[in-house]
Subunit: 503 residues, 2 copies
């Protein structure tokens, strides 16, 4: 059989002579197998041996893996021995747990796992043994997750270097561009912005701030209010617990800014630190390390996880659906490292995050209305050269979750909005700037956070509006002088601030 689980069960004592292990052990095992594997596959207890208080058992199965059978066996054994012999089960573990499973492809490079194991691959069949798996690891299905991880790694190797799926949906007509400079460089020359005191963050002086707030007002008044989105104010720290539930913590840990609390607020405990700062005017790093707790949260990476948390465990009334809300309070951070560039790719940005929940057909209808409103803003007010495209990471393509249909028939997925940046080169050869997106994610997050609707399926989606990106796209095409701006935008911007005059 393709799965084999060798385990040790430690009892609280040896069995008395009147309770024969030869009866108890096989019976508990066969009941456990019947209960957990049943007709879905085959299973058996292939070996067992009791020495004093130590019981060694070996389960094999085909079909379902046998760890659920082991858990059921241990529970039954404990109940029976408790009743008949006043002996309990102290603890148990798998000394070795082997399983066979199929891969999508042959691995191109060694596959690692962060625990004791052996992995061999023949063709597209893998055999994985976990060595010394704890009770927690057995109860918590680590084997299933380890198998999924090996499969994912092989798939990633197979698709490494492949582009994400990209399929154009719409494109505005080309426009004539008279401005060809990098807008951040121009703003620096005019002292509209200053590169911030920490990495990839900017201080926007009055002119730049006014333009970014103008973009915010356009988004709120032209897109969100007409579609009856309601504003919320969400915390700007995301807890680890939330990021575990959404999957962000496993996806992007190198892109977070981590948040750590002081171990205490007590000034007396901080006295050595403050004394050293007062005398040396430097940060005493060892003392700081001693006084600050390990990170427990991150500075907002995406806003929607905390909004799902807000609704977690709740049932939404039919008359509140589709629920349309947006947050613009949380400031977002991404550790961009080498990828930073101007205001286009930054470590800190300001995003309006609209989130919507409802029946699938209502969300598809809402997406169409959002697309209409965005089209109005980008065509009529900002007069941008822009396009939209379906985008999908390779692993979703692979799993057959998306096809190549048009937006009318397509249900789940992400649409990217991209703007041409003349300073980067020709419209055909240069990389356009993603300045906006729009996703319907199905039940992924409503399930993860146990959010229900009064009746029927509850899906969700979001459409992050990056204000620095809107601003950069606009300025890169229209320049920094109001004379070059379309009337629609000028009306919203009104008079520009007087700014600050430096000598």
């Amino acid at each position: 059989m393709e799965h084999r689980l060798e385990a040790e069960v430690t009892l609280s004592g040896a069995l008395p002579p009147n309770v024969p292990a030869t009866e108890v052990v096989p019976r508990a095992a066969s009941e456990a197998i019947a209960h957990t594997i049943g007709k879905r596959g085959e299973g058996r207890l292939v070996e067992w041996k009791l020495e004093g208080d130590l019981l060694r058992v070996v389960f094999e199965s085909s079909g379902p893996r046998p760890h659920q059978a082991l858990l059921a066996f241990v529970r039954r054994l404990g109940e029976e021995l408790g009743r008949s012999a006043r002996v309990g089960v102290r603890t148990f573990r798998a000394t070795r747990y082997r399983t066979e499973f199929a891969l999508d492809a042959e691995p191109k490079a060694p596959i690692t796992l962060p625990m004791a194991h052996e992995l061999t691959v023949v063709g597209k069949v893998a055999t994985l043994s976990l060595i010394g798996l704890s009770e927690e690891g057995l109860r918590d299905n680590w084997m299933d997750r380890a198998v999924a991880l090996v499969q994912e790694k092989v798939r990633r190797q197979a698709y490494e270097g492949k582009e994400q799926y990209w399929s154009q949906i719409t494109a505005s007509a080309p426009r004539e561009h008279t401005f060809h400079a990098d807008p951040t460089e121009e703003m620096l020359k005019r002292q509209w912005v200053r590169s911030g005191p920490t990495k990839g963050k900017w201080y926007l002086g009055p002119n730049a701030a006014h333009l970014m707030r103008t973009m915010e007002r356009i988004a709120v008044e032209e897109v969100l209010r007409p579609l009856a989105f309601q504003e919320v104010v969400q915390p700007h720290h995301d807890s680890f617990d939330i990021l575990l539930r959404t999957g962000h913590l496993e996806g992007l840990p190198g892109e977070f800014y981590y948040v750590a609390e002081p171990k205490t607020r007590d000034p007396a405990a901080w006295e050595r630190f403050t004394d050293l700062v007062k005398i040396t005017r430097q940060v005493p790093e060892d003392e700081l390390a001693r006084m600050v707790a390990p990170p427990s949260a991150v500075s907002c990476y995406a806003q929607c996880p905390t909004t799902y948390w807000w609704l977690s465990g709740r049932t939404l009334a039919t008359d509140t659906l589709p629920l349309k809300i947006f947050d613009r309070a949380a400031v977002s951070n991404r550790y961009e490292s080498g990828g930073r560039h101007g205001l286009e790719r930054v470590d800190e940005f300001h995003r309006i995050e609209p989130v919507f929940l409802g029946a699938p057909e209502d969300l598809v209808a809402l997406r169409e209305r959002l697309l209409e409103r965005y089209r109005h803003v980008f065509d009529d007010l900002l007069e941008l050269e822009w396009r939209t495209a379906w985008v999908t990471p390779f692993y979703m393509q692979q799993s057959g979750k998306v096809g190549v249909e048009d937006s009318q028939t397509r249900v789940k997925g992400t649409i990217d909005f991209e703007a041409y940046l003349p300073y980067r080169g020709t419209r055909e050869d240069s990389e356009w700037l993603e300045f906006q997106n729009l996703s319907i994610v199905g039940e992924k997050y409503t399930k993860a956070f146990s959010i229900k609707s009064q009746k029927g399926e509850l899906w969700s989606g979001c459409t992050g509006i990056g204000l620095e990106r809107w601003l950069t796209a606009f300025l890169a095409q229209k320049g920094l002088d109001a004379a070059g701006w379309p009337d629609g935008f000028r009306r919203y911007a009104g008079d520009l601030p007087t700014g600050v005059h430096f000598l």
Copy 2:
């Protein structure tokens, strides 16, 4: 003499016979003393001894402390020996540096310092010896700062438990209050807010968010726009360097949320972490500690430091003064620990921070205009029961920096705005809520950040508007039902959102 500095100077080699130390050392010392102490006090080289490449010297002085004399001595000695004997100074340190100084009071408890030292106090005279002070410590005036720290600690002991200075300036007429509940409790009952996923942070649903944004609009449209404040957008991480310059890092390290960067963004380096998360669905703390750098910044505590940084090293043109700006982008954090209560005292809050820079007389005039506008808002629109008071920490009182004058003649200082919260008890006996302040801080920050004006003195001030505090003060007096709200506020609030309906 009251100061004595015993030092060791290590030369790059022994002196050749033709360069007699008996001439060089005393001459360099007397020149150094004349240059650094001169007529401001007395100084002499009281002992010296050269053995091989090790020169021991002892300086004593009265008046100025002798470490500047030692630094000048070492420089001259190095120059002279380099020229005459091709011998340089490798390094130097104080083996023992003793000083005598006066205290404001006799200490009530032992005084600690975070370095090797001896401290004795007789009456109000302290004698402090630092043992083994490095070259850096000598160059960087650690002795002067250690003396100031001892004096500060004695002063703090003397005033421990004393209230801060508080002197009422104005008070609105008492108002009749029909609402006596804790507004946060009421908002929780109506599901307008949810206590956040991390400590002391709140998620505001549509109704609460709408009311807080209404407060923001009132502040901007009734106070800031009429006085021609210009908006900026500032980063929400404060660098350690900035907080060292403002003094915040030595003042409040136990109240910060610290920010730490990943050591790398490279997914391969994070693979063990992500694998463990995928298999165990837990945060592997040791692995995280290995991958995250020590804290290098804090989540915004106060907004004004970063605004001063923005202007650092710049000279403001006369036509731009007084410069009036405000930020509302940075979200503020304070680790409140035991002090948390509802939306009144939180770990995360939203504050508009207006900052102003200009000539002292212009800032005093601006303060009067700000007070007028605030009065209009709190009396006419919000119809609050509120008062203002001068407040000053004890150590400013002690140093005689402030007296008890009225706001017309008073120049530097902080005015607190306080609102009566009926649910806390009677207006006479309960603690009122500080919901606003207004400070003129003189040259403290313009000097620290080298900000200059085209001509004359440049002072600064700020007036933080805490939106959660405005909201709580208002709701605590007027309740959560629009029927109880004054017309002025209702006009601004408009229609309330439909909110979210849970089953």
